[in-house]
Amino acid sequence: MNPPPRRIHYLNNGYGARSWLLTTDHKRIAILYLLTITLFFMLGGLFALGIRLELLSPRAWLVQPETYNRMFSLHGIIMVWFFLIPSIPTVFGNFLVPMMVGARDMAFPRLNLASWYVFAVGGLFTILVTLLGGVDTGWTFYTPYSSTYSNSYVLLTATGVFVTGFSSIFTGINFIVTVHTMRAPGMTWFRLPLFVWANYATALILVLATPVLAITLFLIGMERLFGVGVFDPRLGGDPLLFQHLFWFYSHPAVYIMILPGMGVVSELVACFAHRRIFGYRFVAYASLAIALFGFLVWGHHMFVAGMSMYGGLVFSFLSYLVAVPSAIKVFNWTATLYKGSIRLATPMLFAIGFIGLFTIGGMTGLFLAALAVDVHVTDTYFIVAHFHYIMVGGMVMAYMGALHFWWPKMTGKLYPERLAILSAIIVFVGFNLTFFPQFVLGYMGMPRRSIFYPPEYQWLNVMSTAGASILGVGYLFPFLYLFWSLARGAEAGPNPWDARGLEWEFADSPPLPENFAETPVNDREAYAYDLPAREMAPSQALARQNKAVELERKQT
């Protein structure tokens, strides 16, 4: 027998720098994003470790206040805009949305590449700021501190975030159009995987909220450059207007930071419970509802900021409404397990971790939306704990879950399962040790963004720091074994999880440059776990071989 023809896939389809930097293949762009945001995650994580180390003592023992303030500002800015917002959408969304809808690529591949470049430029600005000495406004850029009083690189930072905003917008446009116009035959809206729904809802937010952030940062830039007082009370401006505009973006943005994770969890839970997701339509509509209602609640960040009492009541009420679709999702995931056939593989552990921690984080959001309680806990560590539970406990868990789940698809390799399970457990334990004490600290009254704090808060801070170091180890592990698996991992095969979905059933691992040898025709609901997985048609295998031969010939 002849040796099997060399299998062509998106990874070995050209090796030079050009073939990566000028690629319009959504899968390669996803890899570019993966590398970039991993870098930023490490940077942001480094700052987090700096914060935690400093807070071991109630006094400034490691760094000066100037430095501390720069650390948490850069930590927040990098983690939010350069890691978490792009995380799942640009890596897994980019990789999977076209495959899941059965398309060869995004609707606008060049725009997709442009979005990565724009992101990289914004990122360079931020790295430049870090090297020059940082920014000390917090990630919220409150005026008039940021516009007039701060002596740090506010303008450069704002430019970086502004530029990155366009990357978000480009990605958003691409997702929406792709889902609308690029679906394969038979892929109706209600057969779309929930991950696609979630990314679609995310894209709506990206597209509708980001421009407001852009203009707000632009106004801050104008204030700093020309001293005109759009938000400066000394010049007739109103700082609360800044807060309104900022949160009009940033509250929806927190849903940018959770919806894709919810989409991932829907996939993982269905696959590892081997069951159709419970209440598919409700979960799909819940994504849209979150995207829509998410725009109505921003004022809950301003309850004590000097907003009117009436405004406080309205925004509190609306915040409770937006919590309902999240509740629906949590209950549906849980119900999906019922009568399932559950495998506790690594991605599933991350998914279950997500559900638990997101529920805690979300429910503490209910505390914050409760006006009188928020008066006490706002701007304390209670807030810090709330959002880390959702963003780290929720979204980063989902991100890790996605990474493990689709790693075989993206690279064609399997990672060592035992180590992965171990790291999932370490992350879970470390996470809770880091952030649970912060709820207690917060209710006791420790203000956030504080390098100095009264000594009676110390023991809880020490616990938190201890947890953070465990967490760090937990994050370090996957780095190592995933890299290892690239060289040594076992071959994954097209569908190692016995999952359903076009990307598993009709594409190789790693997929062909154009994803599918021929456009798949979808004849099923999503998550048809009650039916056997579809096999790639023989014609597909044939077409693949022909292509391989053709490419081989071209290369020689």
């Binding site: 004590v304 009492m309 009420f317 409404l321 056939s341 701007d379």
Partner: protein, 341 residues
Amino acid sequence: MNGKRHSTIAATALLLGNDAWAAAADRGIQFFPEQASSVARQVDYLFFFLVFICTIVGVGIALALIYFSIRYHHTRAADRGPIRINTLKIEIAWSVIPLAIFMVIFVWAGWLYFHLQQMPTTTALQIYGIGQQWMWTFQHPGGVREINDLHVPIGRDVKMILTSEDVIHSFYIPDFRVKQDVLPDRYTYVWFKATKLGAFHLFCAEYCGTYHSGMRGMVYVMQPDEYQRWLAGREPAGGLAEKGRRLFSQLGCASCHVAGAGVRAPLLQNLYGRQVRLDDGRTITADDPYIRDSILLPQKDVVAGYPPVMPTFRGIVKEDETLALIEYIKTLREAAEGAPR
């Protein structure tokens, strides 16, 4: 000073080396803030209610996840047939029931918030607070001033009138469960009634720059007579109103605001609390913000029947001076005929 021992930079030492540290240090290990004001307990009840509900729901979900993971583990035999429950009904149930719970929380919390926002009236002790990078200045009615620390009597409503000299700060006493952002060029208010004697932390809760976390002090709650004695012991050269009176003539206010002055300007006697008719037809109560605006933004609210000629004093008078002027104007009670006092 024990500050030097703790830190190498003088500024930090200065900020942190005060009695507050010592006072705080002997609190030992705590899990929960003290309930030292009239609202603290009410807020805590709501908090406990939330903890209670969320624990039930959270533990319920966790147990369900664990139970299903074991019961339906793929290695175990189990019924894996279709589910015979009405999906729509159950979806509605788990949308509507949480919503109902949420509404209970909303109404309760909203009601309490409403209560917190109703400022006590006449009987309250009014204390001015000015935030600036990075310290608090408080002015008691008699004109006594203190920096970073705040002395208040127990059992009496205290209304804080807050403003900022520069950026946004936030006035926060965790043990009282009150917090209010403090904005430049604007007054915000917060009230509390202390119910426990002792020393409590006072923080700045809104990030305001380098020494944000050093911007804090202690609230000392004392018996009313003790408070009076404390006040008397620090009686300043002149009260706040006295300072205002001096400013009133220094700044030339008196050149217009007296009967028979060259410029026709309203007399300020009995102004405070009165209804003032403005030239655009509105009627407005002459309260603190109004008088403040009259001084800093005279063109904003022009009194009916007068020319809008009063110059703005923005940038000329500082926040504490504005307060002194207001305090002085408040004392102009008698229907005097000539120049005030």
